[in-house]
Amino acid sequence: MTDSLLSRRALMRYGAYGAGAAALAGVAAEWDRLTAADIPGRDDGSLVIATLGSAFNPEAQRALRDGFREVHPDIRIRINPVQAYDWSDFFSKILTQIAAGTAPDLVYVATEGVQLFAQRLGVPLDRWAKRDAAELRSYFADVHPSLVESMMYEGSLYQLPVEFNAADMYLNSRVLERAGADLPDDDWTHDDFTTLLRAMKRSNGDRFTPYFWTNRLWGGVVPWLFANGTNLLTESKAPGGDWLWNSFYPEAQRRGRGGGYRWTTPLADSDRVAEVYDYLSSLIQEDLCTRPEGGDGRNLVGVFSTGRVGVTPAGGFWAGGLHEAGMKPADYDVRYFPRRRTRRHQFGAAGYAMLRTSKLRDEAWEFIKYTARKDVMTQLFAANQTTPARRSMVDEARYRETGPAHWQVFYDTLDKIPTTGPIPAPPQVNEVEQLLIKHTGTALASPGAVRPALRRLQGDLEKAMEREV
């Protein structure tokens, strides 16, 4: 046995020192604390723009920065490309920057985050849009009102959409050929779709998966819900927004428009939703379809371009991806999503949101307007990594090198199917997405699992929607 190294008296003394240090720390905590903004060079008066790192390549970012400086030499800008796995990850990183005291002035936000940012962090663009109406008229004339409406929240406009992607169906030409099938009609149905998958399976062997999809909010189960005339959450429109529709859109296009979408009561345990899950479950049981968690978008380009997958839903962004993977324009094509009760498609759009913390709001607005210019968007989206929000940019010249032959489908999904709408993305979107992914996995895990999983999804969604964000 050894003696204690500290006597009781010494312990008391060190305890007193500790208490003193804690008191000092407490006093210090009351002083102005250092934040990340205090790092030299961080707060140099520049307009800081946070983009999703992978959204624009470095060359495009340079063009964006240099081009803006030429037009506005008095505004210093700094582009902050944030690397993230998906939009949810991106928003988390932006929120961390805000908590660290280095909030950007502008953030590139997709449909998934429009309402979250609008409700908690965003500045409505109404007064600037009204002020510069003459300048913006050509932009709105070139952009489908559905895209603009998806960027509105409770009657106000929060972003000018610069890109979008609707969930259309990509088909591998080589696989179609082996199956002895033609490219389906524009108006093909679920039944046609199933028949095509069976033909592909028969002619392409065991190690082939006819239909591949990922378990996400965009492009997962949602386009199937839309095609069946239902949604994950009850959909309605907020009042207001007339100031925008009356100023920029003709009567025919502004009919039925409102002040942005509202997604409220969950519909997960409804019959129509169950029908969709039953259908997807049957495809999995028949080995016509991968399980939703089977891979992610990055795997998908590889397996599609090498002919191990026949069909998959994707937006215009895949034209660039497949081209990079070595596919020729004739190697694949695109069609509308197969109809069921409706032909309604889902889309997601993106643009820049201005943050309330910004002290450079006028400058930020100038940047928003700049990025909505056709010449700027042409530079940014040269590689077909997305579908430009401007209709006039979706033309034959753009897709000549990358394909697909039926590139018109991308914008026609909006123009010819007027019911096409944004994915359900309320302010609670992160939790909604997480729950959808989780319970979709459970629902499709085994036959008979659909309804119990949907009941749990319904309960969890109700809880999430009641929670204040």
């Binding site: 046995m1 050894t2 003696d3 190294l5 949810s88 988390s92 929120l95 961390t96 805000i98 908590a99 908690r120 962090l121 190690r207 998966t209 591949f212 378990n215 991968t290 399980r291 968690e293 089977g294 891979g295 795997n299 397996v303 191990r308 992160n430 939790e431 997480q434 992914i437 989780k438 319970h439 996995g441 459970t442 895990a445 999983a453 964000v469």
Partner: protein
């Protein structure tokens, strides 16, 4: 002249000293080391050497832990100021099925991963410690340790490809010997197995190195004596190697369990916690609650519970070690 006392080596006179608390007396030689350290200069030196570590622990461990405990009593979403919540966050998480399932998953994962990790590391360490050329031993040591220096996230991305049910090489290999496709990442048991395998593959190198060191410390004479007595190889490992390696086993299991209870990257990248909640771990829930749902108070409360769990499990291990760990 320094304050440090230098005492002659060799037997000391049988002086006695009285313990003020118990009144018992004992030989002064028993407290020689402590008495020596008590001298002022040595103590100052000790404080100086320990200070950086203590400051590091206080700033980077104690303060964040205390911060989490405080934050667990507030509602905070990063954007607005924190609001007092009291025990509400704890009530919320203790009735949340996802949180409870995540604790169950984490414990299941811990048991499977640590057991497998220790077993593989021990068997390989004994094998590598056997007769083989020195260069080959170095190759094996490097190969087994190599995964540990790789990023868990990048390993998980590769594993995700390997375990893919439709296109992964693992199922392809199984298919070549007639085994049907295994739903590694898409069934509850398969997903947990894949996560455990990915984790163990990366982590066992650490235990392996500890065991190699521990085995080298076992005197060869003991094994030789056992051989002379006619003990078989298995008998020697069970009766000699394992008991003498028990202190190393304790360290490896303590570190292994603490790490396993904090697993995040492998399930996050490989399965995103699915299918359903079957591979959702506690740290994943903390991350999702805090950074995706902006409920930092509840996330902190889950963190505090995890901290308590780790402390309890570690304390239990040390308690049990009194009975099962043999020091030479």
């Amino acid at each position: 002249m320094t304050n440090t006392e230098i005492r002659p080596v060799g037997p000391e006179p049988a002086r006695t000293r009285r313990n003020r608390r118990t009144g018992q007396t004992r030989k002064a030689s028993e407290s020689t080391a402590a008495t020596t350290i008590r001298t002022r200069g040595t103590r100052l030196l000790a404080v100086l050497f320990l200070a950086p570590t203590v400051v590091g622990i206080v700033v980077f461990t104690v303060v964040p832990i205390a911060g989490s405990v405080v934050l667990s009593l507030f509602q905070w979403d990063v954007i607005d100021d924190p609001r007092w919540a009291g025990a509400a966050n704890y009530r919320e998480i203790l009735t949340d099925s996802t949180v409870l399932v995540s604790f169950r998953n984490t414990l299941v994962f811990m048991v499977l991963a640590v057991a497998l990790q220790l077993l593989i590391a021990l068997v390989l360490a004994i094998a590598v410690n056997g007769r083989m050329p020195k260069w080959l031993r170095s190759v094996f040591r490097s190969a087994f340790f190599f995964p540990l220096v790789l990023s868990a996230a990048s390993i998980s991305v590769v594993m995700k490809y390997l375990f893919n049910q439709d296109f992964g090489p693992v199922n392809w290999l199984l298919g070549t010997v007639g085994i049907p496709s295994v739903p590694w990442l898409t069934s509850e048991n398969g997903a947990m197995a894949a996560v455990v395998l990915a984790y163990v593959w990366q982590q066992f190198g650490f235990s392996f190195l500890l065991f190699v060191g521990g085995l080298n410390n076992i005197p060869k004479e003991v094994h030789e004596a056992a051989s002379l007595d006619g003990a078989s190889g298995v008998r020697k490992h069970l009766a000699i190697t394992l008991p003498l390696l028990s202190p190393t086993l304790l360290v490896a299991s303590v570190v292994g369990i603490i790490n396993a209870l904090q697993v995040f990257e492998q399930p996050y990248v490989l399965t995103a916690g699915g299918p359903g909640d079957s591979t959702r771990t506690v740290v994943m829930v903390i991350y999702e609650t805090a950074f995706e749902q902006l409920r930092f108070g509840e996330a902190s409360a889950v963190g505090v519970l995890l901290f308590a769990l780790i402390m309890a499990v570690t304390a239990l291990q040390f308690r049990l070690s009194r009975r099962y760990v043999h020091y030479q």
